[in-house]
Amino acid sequence: MLQQPAIKRLLVAIPVIWFMVSAIFLLSRLLPGTYGETQLLSPEAGFYGKSLQTDRTAAYQQLLQRTGQDLPLFYISIAPLSEVHTATTFSYLVPDLEWHGTRNQYHHWAAALLTGHLGVSFTNSQPVSALIADAAGNTFLILLVSMVLTSVLAFYAGIAMVQDTGKKWRKPMLALLVLLDSIPLFVLCLLLLLLLANPDAWQLFPVFGLGLNLHDTQSNWVTQASYMVLPVACLVLANLPYLTNQVYTSLTGTLQAGYIKTARAKGLPHAKVVTRHALRNALLPVITTLSDMLPALFAGSVVIETIFAIPGVGRLLVSSVLSRDFPVIIGIVIVVALIKMVSHIVADVAYSAADPRIRARTA
């Protein structure tokens, strides 16, 4: 009974993701500028610039063949307009459709995807799934730690603000959160980097590379952890304002309810009213917020991994974007979209598990 809405959502979400990923795949191949074109074909001085034009064209054709980019893009294509077409007759006004059968890029890509293959990277010929799997561990660790820390801090701050004793903190706290919220993540990262990991100011933490390249004698979990302090702190600080605000609004809303008045009237101290009675109900809307936070955190990890040189998925994405390595980009997009979908479904299930009213409605 519990699983039914989850399965229904899954059935709706999969075509949506399939459509979106297909659109991105087609767009990546439709827009001008394929991988290797600028390096191999440009006549200017470069690594390949010294060889003959014919050699370079041949090398480019070979690259296209190796990566399968010489095939037509889709099942059907419209023949491009050419001078011959347009000089005399009006035949270009009738679309010249061409059927390619299954020998096309989209079919090969989709068939490989359905059997679990994300393709091969253009730049280093490694399978995309292996590249992503290598990078995912670091990203996952940072995301997990910062998500847990953010939630704990947000709940702590939210509860403290609604308590009677926390009243004098409320205004400066909210102002601080608004201020923090207006600093974009990459500026925050760089500011912390310049303040806390810079020989010119204080060099408190080691940064760059997550300490993965240290020798075995130096490498233990304490040094590793010290490399993680700044990246995690940046992610936490960037996501804290939104979550704290959600917890705070949800708690103040719940505190207006009738049963809270009853709890107070029977003489419970305010702190207990909040933790025992209000918190449980206030948790509900926060569950959805938490699942929304995952994509935001992932987007943040792109920035963080670039700045702190962490070999994770975000850095892989940026580097493959800069080298136009389409299979890797599309692979990462697929993985992120799947994670987002799963987190939404988990949130739905958690929501109905936490709230008996919803369970009763869907059953």
Binding site: S28, P32, E83, S182, V187, L194, P295, V318, L322, V333
Partner: protein, 354 residues
């Protein structure tokens, strides 16, 4: 509209933070608009390799210092503000218009109120490929292969002529058939929701980065991608507001006087949508400024020839002791975002209190 202006006046009178934010934004707008007329000593792309990494407040010619190529930070800050706002405001304006239109129509008609005859549905389904081929595909091919302009003109004439034949001659003929005169309801709401779900199925920054990768840095492409991904927020908000407004008795009264749906939406419902849409607009401009400078910082936003806050900040990678390259543009960016968020916060609070 009048109610909205009086709201603003009320906030200006009572809330000092709102007044401060408005004054700041007004000054910034004036500065950005008048920037080409100002006598700045350097243009933002003027190099001076002898004076790279000058500290601020020490050299009277470069008041705010220089970056790794000796470009003046002050003029880069101001031109960065201009470029950022010149992208953020028009992009958000277009996305707000698009989002409001989609959201209002979806919320107003729901899944059952918009009815079309089978003939109309059939004709629309035929017209869409015609428009795509003759009015979009052929002119684009002409531009791509630089063919004579006559071809594009012929294609557009042919496309318009075919559509005219369909709608002026074939449609009356189809209407004579009994079966095609029956109507079906178009699930506008469902279609709009699916579309929004489609565009939000991938985190926005990831989508922006990956699509920006395919075509390289270009101002137009960046704007188009930003519009395509930013209209969904406004659309959701407008739809939710519209669902509430449609229930109100005055809409029923308007319909019962025989008003057309289009007039009800434009004259009666839209004015009530104004405040949430403006809040979404202000909020969107703030997040667009942040997104644009993040992308420029990563090297996939604006082309490197355009001054941008993100471009100035990204030169910190070469010299970690050049704190002014982060603190000054970062502070400017954060201040602008803060001012915009303060405005939208007060507007939300006021509309919640009512």
């Amino acid at each position: 509209m009048r109610a909205f202006i009086s709201d603003i006046a009320y906030l200006l009178r009572t809330k000092w933070s709102f007044r401060l934010a408005i004054v700041y934004l007004a000054l910034l707008t004036g500065l950005v608009l008048l920037l080409p007329l100002l006598p700045l000593p350097f243009s933002p792309n003027e190099l001076n390799l002898q004076h790279a990494f000058q500290k601020p407040f020490t050299n009277p010619t470069y008041i705010l210092g220089t970056d790794q190529l000796g470009r003046d930070v002050l003029s880069n800050l101001l031109w960065g503000a201009r470029n950022g706002l010149f992208i953020a405001v028009p992009v958000m304006l277009l996305s707000a218009v698009l989002g409001t239109a989609v959201g209002a129509v979806a919320g107003y008609f729901g899944n059952s109120k918009w009815k079309l005859t089978y003939a109309q549905v059939l004709l629309i389904l035929v017209t869409i490929p015609i428009v795509c081929y003759y009015l979009i595909h052929l002119p684009m091919q002409v531009v791509l292969y630089s063919l004579p302009g006559k071809v594009a003109g012929m294609a557009i004439v042919a496309g318009l002529a075919l559509s005219a034949i369909l709608w002026l001659i074939i449609k009356p003929l189809l209407n004579n058939l009994m079966r095609l005169r029956q109507t079906i309801a178009i699930p506008v709401d469902g279609i709009a929701l699916r579309l929004i779900e489609l565009l939000t199925s991938i985190p926005r920054l990831i989508l922006l980065i990956s699509v920006a990768a395919f075509a390289g840095p270009s101002l137009w492409l960046l704007s188009v991608i930003l519009i395509c991904t930013f209209w969904t927020g406004t659309a959701r908000l407008a739809r939710a507001e519209m669902l509430r407004i449609v229930q109100l008795p005055y809409i029923e009264a308007a319909i019962s006087t025989g008003m057309k749906h289009r007039r009800v939406i434009l004259k009666e419902a839209l004015p009530n949508l104004l405040t949430p849409v403006i809040v979404a607009f202000v909020f969107g401009v703030a997040s667009l400024l942040a997104v644009e400078s993040t992308l420029s910082f990563l090297g996939i936003g604006l082309p490197a020839t355009h001054a941008s806050w993100g471009r100035t900040i990204s030169s910190i990678r070469l010299n970690l002791s050049a704190w002014w390259l982060v603190a000054l543009p970062g502070g400017f960016l954060a201040l602008t975002v803060l001012a915009l968020q303060t405005c939208s916060y007060h507007l939300i609070r006021l509309s919640q209190q009512k």
